[in-house]
């Protein structure tokens, strides 16, 4: 049942690589917001790397993913190269969206990332549509959508779950339950448990209690993916995790909405550190090998910042392209 047991060393190291990419990319992005190199703000996935990577790596090439405002981890988890992502955060022409999307709207169609959404819940039915096209076109791909515990209270989720269930679409609804929506503790605004909502919509609900363990997440999602690929329909996977930093970078609010003990407990469960220790403990990799992996990723992140910094700003004309597939509207538009 634990599909992760069959993962080879390459894949396990790739998991750690992707978690490290998210960690270091986001740490760097946070600093760049502070220094004004990144306009606006960003939402980091620091602390949630296992939940993101475990889910993404349970997908295969050709599968689709949609995400939300906590947006960098998802494409990184899908294998997107860092340079165009960082360039996008900075708003450069070489950005993955040509500098027009920004942090909140990353998308990398080359790796199946159909787009992050700044509007909570809004990208959930997009994934249902990807599942629908797979079914109609008889392709074996699946679609996964990420949303938070806060977004889990948006009605469109239940419309989407119901539709996917009624039509047995290959969709995985992945709730990143990091216990808070901005300053609002999930338990104060949530009736019942999110995972329990699956049953009433006719699909399995799986809760990963230890969302800091990338393999536990992987196993739960891989099972849901296998089910979807077999044509048996959607699943809801709720992963319990924690964001280590503030909701968004630069947000200055009273932080007493979080309990100090709770915070400490979760900070002690750093997914990147835990997985490193596990790999070493199980004899899969040596500490030296892990150090090398970390150095490799640190270099990747250095490089992506350099790439972003050196890239040109988008040309003015870029702002006036891509609104429509055809150009004939342009003069009406200006």
């Amino acid at each position: 049942m634990t599909l992760s047991a069959s993962l080879d060393k390459d894949l396990l190291l790739e998991m750690q690589r992707r978690m490290l990419r998210i960690r270091l990319f986001d740490e760097r992005a946070s600093k760049m917001v502070k220094r004004g190199f990144i306009p606006g703000t960003v939402h980091t996935s620091i602390g949630q790397e296992a939940q993101v990577v475990g889910a993404c790596m349970a997908l295969a090439k050709g599968d689709h993913m949609t995400g939300n405002h906590r947006s960098h981890g998802h494409p990184i988890g899908m294998g997107s190269p860092l340079g165009p992502l960082m360039a996008e955060l900075v708003g450069k022409a070489t950005g993955v969206c040509k500098g027009k999307g920004g942090s909140l709207h990353l998308a990398d169609y080359a790796v199946g990332s159909l787009g992050e959404s700044g509007i909570t819940g809004s990208s959930i039915p997009i994934a249902v549509g990807a599942g629908l096209s797979a079914q109609v076109m008889n392709e074996k791909r699946v679609a996964l959508t990420f949303f938070g515990d806060g977004a889990a209270n948006q009605g469109v989720l239940y419309e989407s779950m119901n539709m996917a269930s009624a039509w047995k679409l290959p969709v995985i609804f992945l709730c990143e339950n990091n216990h808070y929506a901005l300053s609002t503790p999930a338990h104060t605004v949530t009736g019942g448990r999110i995972v329990d909502r699956a049953f009433g919509f006719g699909m399995p609900g799986i809760r990963v209690e230890n969302g800091q363990d990338v393999l536990e997440v992987y196993d739960a999602v891989a099972e849901a993916v296998a089910r979807a690929r077999r044509g048996e329909g959607p699943s809801l996977v709720e992963v319990m995790t924690y964001r280590f930093r503030e909701h968004s970078e630069g947000l200055r609010i009273n932080t007493d909405y979080r309990d100090a003990n709770e915070r400490e407990f979760w900070l002690s469960r750093d997914p990147v550190a835990l997985f490193r220790a596990m790999l070493i403990e199980r004899g899969i990799a040596s500490a030296a090998e892990m150090d090398a992996v970390e150095a490799e990723i640190a270099q990747e992140v250095e490089d992506c910042v350099a790439f972003a910094t050196e890239s040109p700003d988008p040309d003015r004309s870029v702002a006036f392209a891509d609104l429509y597939s055809d150009a004939y509207l342009l003069e009406d538009v200006l």
Partner: protein
């Protein structure tokens, strides 16, 4: 050529599009049973069976009553290989999916730097003037005109309905088509084969030299009737149907006003911030020097829609109101003609 109803033309276009391209699917509430009459039903089509029999349940899908998910799923499906036509039945139900229209359909291609293509058509019909009450009578197309990234179509005749729908299905961008139920039964000569009508090209329904009358959707026949009445009184009206509201053929309208110097715009939406406001604003800018009279709008009054049919009828444009507006802008003209006739 054959005579066809507006709704028959829509059914025909849908069938042609489904037959031509396996990526075209139809999603909507009660489309399998052909409740709204465009997925089977006409005599010709009935011989071949309804759409479910012809194309199967995978491509003709009854949806749950979940407009937000329907619209979102159609967008997602369009982004990943299908070319869905979504039948949302009443235009009044579009509000349920507003976020998906504005934030996903309209924005994805742009904000993802051109990575997405979103070939999806959203059909809905404006059921106004039919005593369906305030929740079923809306004509909300102006809201969507103000959302860059969407294309907005409002056919006023059978041949336009067919040709514009095919163009919509071909479009790689999201298109909203607003039909007028009042026009569903109206007939016109329609080409038998497949054909397309380009977006952004107005149709001059009648040439004239004194007053330009722009009619939108259900107001086109009223404008034509008003023009006929005014002709008898010596005022020559040019009647223009823009057909697509985004893109809007402002050139054709401005050109006409440069000739006539007078403009009346009739549309079924509420007056404030409607399509008529947009057209008036464009003309007040681009044709100012030619304007010889105030620009008059004839739109739904800024009230909600009463159920009582007599009260309801007062809310929408009528031929009489259009005539009154034409009279108002051509008063001098009328005087001259009358005087001339008197001589």
């Amino acid at each position: 050529m054959s005579i066809m109803t507006y709704i028959g033309a829509i059914g025909a276009a849908q069938q042609e599009a489904m037959a031509a391209d396996p990526r075209v699917v139809i999603l909507g509430e009660d489309v399998e049973a052909n409740v709204y009459g465009t997925t089977g039903g006409s005599k010709q089509r009935a011989q071949q069976g309804d759409f479910v029999q012809q194309f199967g349940r995978s491509r003709i899908r009854n949806t749950p009553i979940s407009e937000e998910a329907i619209v979102g799923a159609a967008i997602g499906a369009a982004m990943t290989g299908l070319r869905p036509i979504v039948d949302l039945s009443y235009s009044s139900f579009l509000y349920m999916a507003m976020d998906q229209f504005v934030n996903q359909a309209a924005k994805n291609r742009y904000m993802f730097g051109g990575q997405s293509s979103i070939p999806v058509v959203f059909r809905s019909a404006m059921f106004y003037g039919l005593a369906t009450g305030a929740h079923h009578s809306d004509r909300p197309y102006p809201m969507f005109m103000g959302v860059p990234g969407l294309k907005v179509v409002a056919p006023a005749s059978a041949s336009d309905a067919k040709g514009l729908l095919r163009t919509a299905v071909d479009s790689d961008d999201p298109v909203l088509i607003f039909e007028a139920v009042r026009l569903w039964g109206t007939k016109e000569e329609v080409e038998d084969g497949e054909y397309r009508i380009p977006f952004g090209v107005a149709r001059t329904r009648r040439d004239g030299s004194d007053v330009t009358v722009v009619g939108i959707s259900g107001c086109v026949p009223l404008a034509l009737e008003a023009a006929r009445q005014m002709e008898a009184r010596g005022v020559s009206c040019e009647v223009i149907d823009p057909r697509t509201l985004v893109p809007l053929d402002t050139r054709a309208i401005v050109r006409s006003v440069l000739k006539t110097g007078r403009l009346v715009i009739a549309e079924p939406a509420h007056r404030t911030c409607g399509a008529a406001a947009e057209i008036a604003a464009v003309v007040a800018d681009e044709a100012h020097h030619a304007l010889r009279a105030p620009i008059k709008r004839v739109a739904a009054l800024n009230m909600q829609i009463p159920f009582n049919p007599v009260l309801e009828a007062e809310m929408y444009p009528t031929t009489e109101r259009i005539v009154a507006a034409i009279e108002a802008v051509s008063a001098d003209q009328l005087d001259t003609r009358t005087r001339r006739a008197g001589r």
